[in-house]
Amino acid sequence: MTEKATTGEKKAVGVRAPGICWSCQAEVSGEHFCPACDKIQPQPPDTDYFCFFGLDRKLALDAAALERRFHDLSWKLHPDNFHAASTYEQELSLEKAAVLNDAYRTLRDPVARVEYLLGLEGIRREGEIKQQAPPDLLAEVFELNEYLEELRAAKRAGGEAREMNELRHRLEQARESFQQKLECVLEELTDQFSRFDAAPESAARKNALQRMSEILNRHSYIRNLVRNVSDELEEE
């Protein structure tokens, strides 16, 4: 690794102004390493996950290319490479490696990627989800919850095996049906990616974002539902 630091002792750190390398004072513009002296550089405060990977703020991502970039940056930024470096460089490496991992975890998953983007664009706070049943699913959700309740009650009462199996079977079918819906919703979501990525002006962007936010609500509702059923089925 070329980034492996050469000196073990803590050395006085130079100017830490934005746009200037702390070590050699050369000009830097958001690179992970100084183009002149190859020293690891701090994160500019406004770097988002897309920037960190050197990507435009676009939703359609090539998963294989993203992984390659992740591996490449891991080799360079991991704290193992800075074990003999100054404390400052160790801190930078730790911080940057953490952001790298956080960013990759977020960007590789389409749902997390959209959630993150909606946060960046100020459409909604990260993790803020409306837990409201979509009206068209109300009947099915109602039925599912009833089965769930019955199964829980039967478990508590130590119910008959035949009855429990019947309930389990029904729940599995319901889960299957919701699982399929989930895949449809995911497709709907990814359909919006190209709309957002292609939108030049802010109104259309905003429009796509709003639509994705709605789809995401639907998605997270169904996902929780499926998760609850799975938890109940796999508990024993």
């Binding site: 690794m1 492996k4 073990g8 591996h71 891991s74 080799w75 991991h78 704290p79 193992d80 074990h83 003999a84 730790l94 911080e95 490696a97 953490a98 952001v99 991992n101 956080d102 990759y104 975890r105 993790g127």
Partner: protein, 611 residues
């Protein structure tokens, strides 16, 4: 800077290894008797010195209450966590064990990190003897499923032993490094690590030297110990029934019963049946035939418990068992044939077991040490955090901020504000675990964010939670409005404070020299006893009559000299005289050997003799 060694601090055995600079191959270091394993057993001598390893293990049979084993299971634990388990161990707890266990050994009280430190110090010494220089830096392995408190306790143990812990590495990941699977261009690897006290499963993707853990799961309370305890309990119940004697009432006797069932367990890994023989003085022996089938039917439920975590890890990684390209077995308990069959059934492929399952983790630790020392640049480990990190929200619920199986280092940033005017603190409670409610998760730490008095909702304090490459949590806070670092004093829920660790470091230095001599002395005495017994036996053989008188005199003189040394407490002198006696009996041993050979060969044709 000095060299960095790799240490496997195991439940049953501990080892130290280093990577040879020239060959880049890791090697386990042996003690003077050529043994790489060091039993993770510590005993306090009535004279007040500490004995570690093999001699300490012997003391379990004579001074069970002054001896502690499997202390790894108590690391980072509080009283409530181990109440059930302690019934099976002979340890006595001292008061004040709520958040850190305190074990009473004779007149003294030790915490699990201090006891582990005695083991680490012994390994450190072994390395120093080998390199003839001070060794003060180490990579130490921990079970992948260890939580923050257990990891911190391990790091504390290192500090108390005078070691700079350069990295904590997960055991299954270390093992995958050692297996040399990096020759693969791209492969999926499963590591099934079933040790003395803990079980881990890790799934990795390997690509051109990059070892990327995809998911890990496990049980830090599941291992060979559980099998031993189960067998000992079965035997105890049978003895009680047949001979009306409760072995459990006598800790030393119970320990020898435990040793007997462990021997039977080991035998059944190779044989279809074995005889469990346990002498009980006046009441006759307890003798029992045990078949492998019966043994397997007993331990089956314990082995089954490893499959749940294995399936959860596969699910988290989004993988099917048959997708794994290689499966590797680690840990002594994987010698059990039933374990191998179960793993093979699950992954539908024959698992690797070429490397000694006891040594492979230490070898991997030595490789990671070499990576940190800069000796390797084409290998990199990307590990994950085994448990989700969360913070308590209103109503005792958990808000997850870093999900399990996130690659480490990992971080999360949360914004906090105040609800009342002039509120000067915000309480934050950090937990680890997968459940929805705080009460079902593991409390990690609490702290109060200090905030200058301001109107409600105005302060904006950003708290950054960072899990570092050791899997340990770091917390920093920053006031967004002023840009100032806010002070964060994290109080761990389980574990030692910095002051306590500092004090223990000082205390342990006092122990160091005296203990080393004491351990050596016991080892040397045991060996001297064995050599003297063997000599006496040899001299009684008929062939010994043929010894020249001066030879016999020499042997007798060497014997007397050794006995004299035994009366003192200089272990070096004892070792010297053992060596002298060995020299003196060299010819006698040869004569006996030849005689034995003649007997064995008698009646065989020359072409049958294949020497």
């Amino acid at each position: 800077m000095g060299r960095i060694v790799g240490i496997d601090l195991g439940t049953t055995y501990s080892l130290v290894a280093y990577t040879d600079a020239a060959t880049r191959k890791p090697v386990c270091l042996a003690d003077e008797q050529g043994r790489t394993l060091l039993p993770s057993v510590v005993s306090l001598d009535p004279a007040g010195s500490v004995v570690v390893g093999w001699p300490a293990r012997e003391r379990l049979l004579r001074q069970a209450e002054r001896t502690v084993y499997s202390v790894k299971r108590l690391m980072g634990k509080g009283l409530e966590d181990v109440r059930e388990e302690l019934q099976l161990f002979p340890f006595r707890l001292a008061p004040g064990s709520e958040s850190v266990i305190r074990i009473q050994l004779g007149e003294k009280i030790f915490t699990p990190p201090e006891i582990s430190a005695f083991i680490l110090r012994e390994l450190k010494r072994r390395a120093e003897a080998f390199f003839s220089e001070e060794v003060s830096r180490a990579v130490i392995t921990v079970p992948a499923y260890f939580n923050d408190a257990q990891r911190q306790a391990t790091k504390d143990a290192g500090r108390i032993a005078g070691l700079e812990v350069e990295r904590l590495v997960n055991e299954p990941t270390a093992a995958s490094l050692a297996y040399g699977l990096d020759k693969h261009q791209r492969a999926l690897i499963g590591v099934y690590d079933f040790g003395g006290g803990t079980f881990d499963i890790s799934l990795l993707r390997l690509q051109e030297g990059l070892f990327e853990v995809l998911a890990t799961n496990g049980d830090t309370h599941l291992g060979g110990d559980d099998i031993d305890n189960l067998l000992a309990e079965k035997a105890r119940a049978e003895i009680h029934q047949q001979l009306k004697l409760d072995v459990a009432e006598n800790p030393e006797l119970y320990q020898s019963l435990r040793n007997a069932v462990i021997a039977a367990k080991h035998a059944l890994s190779a044989e279809e049946r074995t005889t469990l023989r346990f002498p009980l003085d006046a009441r006759g022996d307890y003798v029992r035939e045990l078949t492998r089938a019966e043994f397997e039917s007993w331990i089956e439920p314990i082995i089954e418990r490893t499959l749940g975590p294995a399936k959860r890890a596969l699910k988290d990684a989004g993988l099917k068992p048959e997708q794994m390209d290689e499966v590797v077995l680690v840990g002594g308990s994987t010698r059990i044939p039933l374990v191998r069959r179960r793993v093979e059934q699950l992954f539908r492929r024959r698992p690797h077991c070429e490397l000694n399952p006891d040594e492979v983790v230490a070898l991997g630790a030595a490789l990671q040490a070499n990576i940190l020392a800069g000796g390797v640049e084409d290998m990199l480990l990307l590990d994950v955090t085994p448990l989700s990190l969360g913070i308590e929200t209103l109503g005792g619920a958990v808000a997850k901020i870093i999900p399990r199986n996130s690659t480490i280092p990992a971080s999360a940033t949360e914004m906090f504000t105040t609800y009342a005017d002039n509120q000067t603190g915000v309480d934050i409670h950090v937990v680890q675990g997968e459940r929805e409610l705080v009460k079902d998760c593991r409390s990690l730490a609490r702290f109060t964010l200090k905030i200058p008095p301001q109107p409600a909702g105005l302060p904006r304090v950003e708290v950054k939670f960072l899990i570092d490459a050791d899997g340990l949590l770091q917390v920093t806070a920053r006031d967004i409005r002023t840009g100032q670092q806010a002070s964060v004093e994290v109080k761990p829920s389980y574990g030692l404070s910095d002051d306590e660790v500092e004090r223990m470091i000082l205390e342990s230095i006092e122990y160091a020299e005296a203990d080393f001599a004491a351990t050596q002395l016991i080892g040397a005495r045991n060996e001297a006893d064995a050599v003297l017994r063997a000599t006496a036996r040899a001299l009684a053989e008929p062939q010994a009559q043929e010894l020249a008188p001066e030879e016999r005199r020499e042997i007798e003189q060497a014997e007397a000299a050794l006995r004299q040394a035994l009366a003192g407490d200089d272990y070096r002198l004892i070792r010297e005289r053992i060596e002298a006696l060995n020299q003196a009996t060299h010819h006698l041993a040869e004569m006996l050997m030849n005689a034995a050979m003649q007997t064995a060969l008698k009646g065989k044709r020359a072409d049958e003799v294949n020497l």
